[in-house]
């Protein structure tokens, strides 16, 4: 069952109040908007992901896109998990001067909810940059699994059922 729109709450840093936002699938028109919004989404070329499962987050009463996430559903029995292939919060909402908080957390928690919903038992993974190995676990509770390669260690971040429930409770249950 595909979801048309999922409500979450973001925190407005300045006022410490909550604003209702929605997560919904990207349309082709949205990709055109993102392509034009180079200042807001300047880290990745989202146009390359047009054929993939991409979600956007926006305030319920506004059209401005605040966050993007690409998911890969690994339906084979052995993997049985959802991969967060790409995620980007809009530039003005990253770092100390950000206006809205919890955009990344809400998107990641949404991925966990989808994982439960699709029968993957809350299993979600992502591939980290090596300089972020300590920070995904600290922020979102991921566990790092190293994979030895010929040249340098590589690996992935993963979280299972109980950790997934905590993230859902933190970021989605307040909505």
């Amino acid at each position: 069952m595909e979801i048309a729109q999922f409500e979450v709450k973001l925190k407005e840093v300045l006022t410490n109040s909550h604003l209702v936002a929605v997560i919904e699938p990207m349309t082709l028109a949205d990709f055109k908007v993102v392509k034009k919004s180079r200042e807001q989404f300047d880290k990745f070329n989202w146009n390359q992901y047009r054929q993939k499962e991409v979600y956007k987050l926006r305030l319920k009463e506004e059209d401005v896109i605040l966050g993007l996430m690409c998911l890969v559903d690994h339906t084979d029995e052995a993997t049985d998990a959802i991969e967060i292939e790409l995620l980007e919060v809009s530039s003005e909402n990253i770092g100390k001067g950000k206006r809205l908080d919890c955009i990344g957390g809400c998107l990641i928690a949404f991925a966990y909810r989808e994982s439960f919903k699709r029968g993957h038992e809350g299993c979600v993974f992502l591939v980290p940059k090596s300089s972020l190995l300590d920070h995904y676990p600290a922020k979102y509770g991921f566990q790092y699994i190293p994979v030895k390669t010929d040249r340098r260690p590589n690996g992935f971040m993963i979280l299972f059922e109980s950790g997934a429930r905590k993230l859902i409770k933190t970021y989605l249950d307040a909505a």
Partner: protein
């Protein structure tokens, strides 16, 4: 597009991890090696997973499916009250008779609800909330029932027409 070095100049690693996920290896060999290691971890996790953890995952799946169905504008005639009740009982791996005893309902009544031959009473809905330790609140079951009724009303004119003979007087004008 900004390089990682450019991003690092502007933001701390904490800020980056909070807000960005970068794509994994593009090289098919590297990616397969990573996925192969992941499948091994997943296999071990499944082997060590407790029965309670499996049950929680299955019940969460059902709850999220029910929530999404209620949010959706469309109807699905297969998603009626009895379908979700049957799923709840099946995921608990209980026999219907045993479940009927646990909520003090006649097994025949339970079976008729599941098979769409009878509507659930309020008491059953309240008992479902209590049985699930409020994980499946009564309001959620009422909304499923309400959506089912709306679907029936839209698709079966006889539901209202059957009551026509009981109405002795009716308004003679339309508001629109």
């Amino acid at each position: 597009m900004k390089s990682y070095k450019e991003i690092e100049k502007k933001h701390s690693p904490e800020e980056i991890a909070e807000s960005l996920v970068f794509p994994g290896p593009k090289d098919p060999v590297k990616r397969e090696k990573m996925l192969s290691a992941l499948r091994e971890v997943r296999k071990q996790q499944k082997e060590n997973q407790s029965e309670e953890s499996k049950l929680i995952s299955q019940l969460l799946q059902l709850k999220f499916l029910m929530e999404d169905y209620l949010k959706a504008d469309s109807f699905n005639k297969n998603f009626y009250f009895g379908y979700f009740l049957n799923e709840y009982i099946a995921r608990l791996e209980k026999k219907k008779k045993q479940f009927a005893q646990e909520i003090d309902v006649d097994p025949t009544e339970l079976s008729q609800i599941i098979n769409k031959h009878r509507k659930p009473t309020e008491k059953i809905i309240y008992r479902l909330e209590i049985h699930s330790n409020r994980n499946f609140p009564a309001i959620m079951w009422f909304k499923i029932l309400e959506k089912e009724r709306a679907y029936e009303l839209l698709h079966d004119k006889s539901i209202v027409n059957n009551e026509r003979s009981h109405v002795k007087q009716q308004l003679k004008f339309s508001l629109t």
